[in-house]
Structure formats: C-alpha cells, structure tokens
C-alpha cells in the first residue's frame, strides 16, 4: 500500500471516528434545531446504510470520470477526496462507510456536462474538481420513488476562473430521509451557482458549506421548495467570505401545504480582511396549509469592516389585495391562487440561464404544486 492511499484510509478512519463521536444529529444540535434527524434514523442505520446506486445519465465534454469503489485511484482523487475539513457528521458518514460514489475532473480550460441520478437508498460520496478556467454543468436528480435513508456527500473544488453550475432536483418521496451534504471551495474569480428544487420527504436536508477563498469568487444559490402534507424540507447554507471582493446571493422560496415544514438556515461569515465583499440572502415561505410551518433563519457573522450584507425573511399567506385584484378582473379564485403561487416561485427559477435546467426544475414544480395546494384544509 503506498503512502498516498494510506493517507486516504487515514482520512476515512478519521471521518468514521468523527461520525462515531457526534452521532446522528438531533434537535439539540443548533444546526439541526428544526430537523430532528435522530427522530427518523439512528447511528446503526447510517453506518449500515450501504452504497447508494447512482447512474450517470449523461456525460459530455472533457470530463474525467473515476468510480470510487474501484481500488486504484488516480493522484488527483487521492489528493482531494475527503480532504475538505467539515464539521458535518452526515458529510463524514457519506465518506466513512460506503466506499461508493464517483469523482469528476474537468481539466484546465475545458468544459463539460454531467447528469446523475441517485436512485436508491444508501450512501455515496462525490468529488468534483474543476481546474483553472474549467467549467462544469452538473445536474443531480433524486427520483420520487426513493424509500429509506439516502445520504450523499459532495466535495467541490473550483479553481481560479473556473465556473461550476449545480442543479439539484429531489422529487417528493414521503417515505425517504434524504440528506445532501455539500462542501466546496471557490478560488479567485471562480463561481459556484446552485439551483435546488426540494419537493419534500419525510425529512430532507440540503446542507451546503462554501468557502469563497479568492478575490472575486462568487456564489449564487437559488432554490424552491414545494411541500405537500406530511413532508419536511430543510435547506441549510453557510457561505464564508474568506477573501475580499467576494460576492454571494441567495434566494430561497417555499410553498408549504397541509402539515408540512420548510426550513431555511443561512449563515454568512465575512472573515477579517474580506473587505469589499457583498452578500445578499432572501428566504420566503407561503403557507398554504393552516398547519404548515416555516422556519427561516438568516444569520450574519461579520469580522471585516467594509462589507455589504443584506438579508430578509418573510412568511405569509397569499396577498389578499393581489388575489382580489385578479378576481375582480375575472380570474376565478383557484386560477388566481395558482397564478400567484407560480409567480412567487418563479422569481427563484427565472435566473437560471440554462433552458434545460430551468425546464426540468419548473416541470418538477408543476408536478408538485397540485398536491401542495390540495392539502389546504
């Protein structure tokens, strides 16, 4: 066994130990206050979850691919896999136990596109490396028939002037517990764009920790959640502005029907010396069900002097003035409600530059809306 491989083993052992120490997160852990994972699974279930099945449905452009279950790993995988220090127990578990997943690398100056479907319960690890000036469009889907625990950990390295576009759609699977834990770094003038669609599970959590490490690095996150009765969707983000003149924007919109719960926690840290950085975050929720709930928590930690930070959160029902206006113009109530709900979600989707991704996400919204709306008591 060579030294590099044993380093990988050491990291994996460390991750296993980290999970053993922390255990399955529960509501007394601040970051999991609104999503009690321990109520729906336990440590044994996580460590024995096995490998999640995944299928690469499309791969084009100049993208290297490595299956992480094979024993021979190239140097770049050994250098990066599991190397991002994370304090996430579920992120650690995705690396420690399954030995499953894949790695993608886009070489310097190249570009490509990859679509992957995570079709089964279990765990998997994904490593994505974008070299200098590279770009990748990465589309991840989780099907609606998923049952049981799925825990996917993703590490993303975006080098200087590289651009990563990440789209994620997790369809409604009320019998699933679905965790996506993403950790990433973005170097100088690089960018990370995420678009997420969460359509509810027994419990779903998208956790993203991103560090903007170089001047001019950017992160733009947008997401919609459309939740039917009995589902729960949590989006938790932590953006670290580690360098000056970095920019981040976030816009998350949720529609919650029946007795469902939408959670958004958005932490922004502006490190000492990260002057000229600019961050905005907005989270909004429409409660369609009388027993629906939304917990929106933006959080700012600022250690630099010259920064711009804006955040806002709002929870409510459809605007009565707007509803009356549309009805007074002849639009029946159900249709008017429909229009206003779509308009509310539209804002988080309209920014998506790629037509295919926008269409994919919007189709999922259309499919999920009737169930979220019917559950209105």
């Amino acid at each position: 066994m060579n030294a590099a491989l044993s380093r990988l083993d050491a990291r994996r052992a460390e991750a296993a130990e980290q999970f053993r120490m922390r255990g399955v997160p529960h509501r007394r852990v601040e970051a999991w206050k609104y999503s009690d994972l321990r109520a729906v699974t336990d440590a044994d279930a996580v460590s024995n979850a096995g490998a999640a099945q995944w299928t690469i449905e499309h791969r084009s452009g100049d993208v290297e691919f490595v299956d992480l279950s094979s024993s021979a790993q190239p140097d770049w995988v050994r250098a990066h896999l599991g190397a991002l220090k994370s304090d996430s127990a579920m992120g650690a578990a995705s690396f420690a136990f399954a030995h499953a997943g894949f790695a993608l690398r886009v070489p310097r100056g190249q570009s490509g596109e990859v679509r992957v479907n995570f079709a089964s319960a279990g765990q998997a690890r994904v490593l994505i490396v974008l070299e200098e000036g590279a770009s990748l469009r990465y589309v991840e889907t989780v099907p609606g028939h998923l049952e049981g625990l799925q825990n996917i950990g993703t590490e993303v390295r975006v080098a200087e002037n590289a651009h990563f576009t990440h789209a994620r759609t997790a369809l409604t699977s009320a019998k699933a517990v679905q965790i996506a834990d993403i950790a990433g770094t973005v170097a100088r003038n690089g960018s990370y764009r995420l678009t997420s669609g969460a359509f509810g599970a027994e419990l779903s959590r998208l956790e993203l920790k991103l560090s903007l490490d170089g001047e001019g690095a950017e992160a733009h996150l947008a997401g919609v959640g459309v939740l039917a009765d009995g589902t729960h969707a949590d989006v938790t983000t932590h953006i670290v502005h580690a360098a000056g003149n970095t920019r981040s924007t976030q816009l998350f919109k949720n529609v919650a029907g029946g007795k469902s719960r939408a959670v958004y926690q958005g932490q922004i840290t502006v490190a000492k010396g990260a002057n000229g950085s600019d961050s905005r975050q907005t989270a909004k929720a429409l409660l369609l069900g009388q027993r629906a709930e939304a917990d929106l928590k933006p959080e700012l930690e600022i250690f630099a002097d010259d920064v711009k930070c804006a955040h806002g959160a709002a929870v409510g029902d459809l605007d009565v003035d707007s509803l009356f206006y549309l009805r007074a113009r002849g639009i029946p109530e159900a249709e008017a409600r429909n229009m206003l709900i779509r308009a509310f979600l539209e804002e988080a989707v309209e920014e998506i530059a790629n037509d295919d991704i926008r269409a994919l996400l919007w189709q999922a919204v259309e499919d999920a809306l009737p169930r979220a709306m019917e559950s209105r008591p």
Binding site: Y325, A328, R329, G330, M339, L340, L345
Partner: protein
C-alpha cells in the same frame, strides 16, 4: 333601462357600519359622479360593488341588470360586465402585464361561454387600445404594475377597461396622484368609452376630474349616505363651497 339599482344599502366592515342607507340608480348610457370627503364611504361603495371579501351587506340590495349582485363572486361580476378601476392597482411580480391581460380576458370570455382568444389575437386587441393611452410595449412585457409610475398604473387600468368592454365601469379615485397631463390622457381614454350601452360611476374627492369627464348626475356622499344630488353644476358648487358647507346645508 336601469343598469344599477342600489336600495337603502347598509354595509359593514369589521362590524362597523360604513354605508348607512345609500340609494342610487344609474341607467345605461349615463355617467354618474360620486363625490365625498375622506371617510364618507366612497371606496367602500366601489369595493362592495366589485365584491371584495370583508364588505358585508347588512341590509338593502344591489341589483345589476335585474340580478342580485350580492350572490356573485368578484370574477362572476367581472364576466358579467362590471369593472372597477382601482385607486391602488396592485403590483404582482412574476406575472407579466401581457400574460395577465390575456388570462383575465379569456377567463371572462370563458365564463360567458365564448371561446379563448389566442395570444396573437389578444396582443392585437391590446395594441389597438394601448397607443392612445401611451401604454408601451415595454410596459406590457414587465411584471404587472411593478415599477410603474402612478400615471402608468392608472393608464393600465383604463387600458383594461377598454379591453374588457364592461357594461358598468366604476372608477375609484382614478385622478389621485395624477398630474394634469396624465389626468387628461386618462379622461380622454374614459370619454372614448362612453356609449349608450355603458354606464359609469366616477368616484372622486375633487371636482377637477369632472372638468374632463363631464357627468350626467352628481351625488354627494357623506357619512355613508347620499345627501345631495344634482347635475354637473353641483360639482362646481362643491368646489366653491367645500364639503363642510354642503353637509351643513343638507342637515
């Protein structure tokens, strides 16, 4: 033929009586002005005619073309030809003006058993009316009323009125917030829609608008009741004497 007949109407909002026995008859082809000071019940009258929730008719009746209006939802009233140009048109981000116009026009047509118009046909109709009201193509592409000036919002209200071709148009403080040029433009738009088949109710605080939209009848509303009625000259008398004097005279 009487288009609108309001008899001894009492309306309460949040349990508080706002209209206290209002009676009014408007015939097809007529333009009536309702004038009154703030708090007299002008907006309540316009909302109760359009069917807004929370405006409860405690007694009296509103008959529109031989039909009890109280039984109809706002969208049914619109399809039957009632249009309220609102004092504060709402902004709706995420819905473009053109999409809204098409959806509303077709919803009204469908309710009347007429076929939907395709996008091109709607666009053609909108363009026919848009020019004289100075509603630009750019405005039609923007989200409904979002970022529109006060004048643009009011012009769009009148454009809708022209497009929907209502039988009874109610204009609630359409003059508020308009400068004189915008006021003239809006008034011209309204005047071109005057017709023997159409009745209009122009609700306003000030006489100014009535210089441009000359009414057949003027009614003065005070404390939820009509206290005086007359021809267009009544508006000038109001302007000269002020509401306080007219209310005192009527008492």
């Amino acid at each position: 033929m009487s288009m609108l007949q309001i008899k001894d109407l009492h309306v309460a909002v949040d349990g508080k009586e706002i209209l206290k026995g209002l009676s009014l008859t408007v015939n097809a082809g007529e333009v009536h002005a309702i004038m009154g000071p703030n708090g007299s019940g002008k907006s309540t009258l316009s909302y109760v005619l359009a069917g807004r929730a929370g405006y409860e008719i405690t007694s009296g009746s509103i008959v529109y073309k031989d039909e009890d209006l109280n039984a109809l939802a706002p969208e049914e009233r619109a399809a039957k030809g009632i249009f309220l140009a609102m004092q504060y048109p709402v902004e709706i981000p995420g819905v473009t003006t053109m999409t809204f116009l098409k959806t509303a026009l077709n919803a009204q047509r469908r309710a009347r058993g007429e076929s939907d118009l395709d996008a091109l046909n709607v666009l053609k109709r909108v363009r026919e009316k848009a020019g004289s009201l100075k509603v630009s193509e750019e405005m039609l592409k923007r989200a409904l009323n979002v970022g529109f000036s006060g004048g643009e919002k009011k012009r769009l209200e009148i454009l809708q009125m022209a497009l929907f071709e209502p039988k009874l148009a109610i204009l609630d403080e359409t003059d508020s917030g308009l400068d004189i040029d915008a006021l003239k433009l809006v008034a011209e738009g309204v005047n071109t829609l005057r017709s023997p088949e159409r009745a209009m109710l122009v609700i306003t605080h000030y006489q100014r608008l009535l210089n441009y939209i000359v009414p057949d009848r003027v009614h003065v509303l005070s404390a939820g009741r009509i206290i005086r009625e007359g021809g267009k000259e009544l508006a000038h008398e109001l302007e000269a004497k002020g509401y306080a004097q007219i209310v005192k005279d009527a008492a």
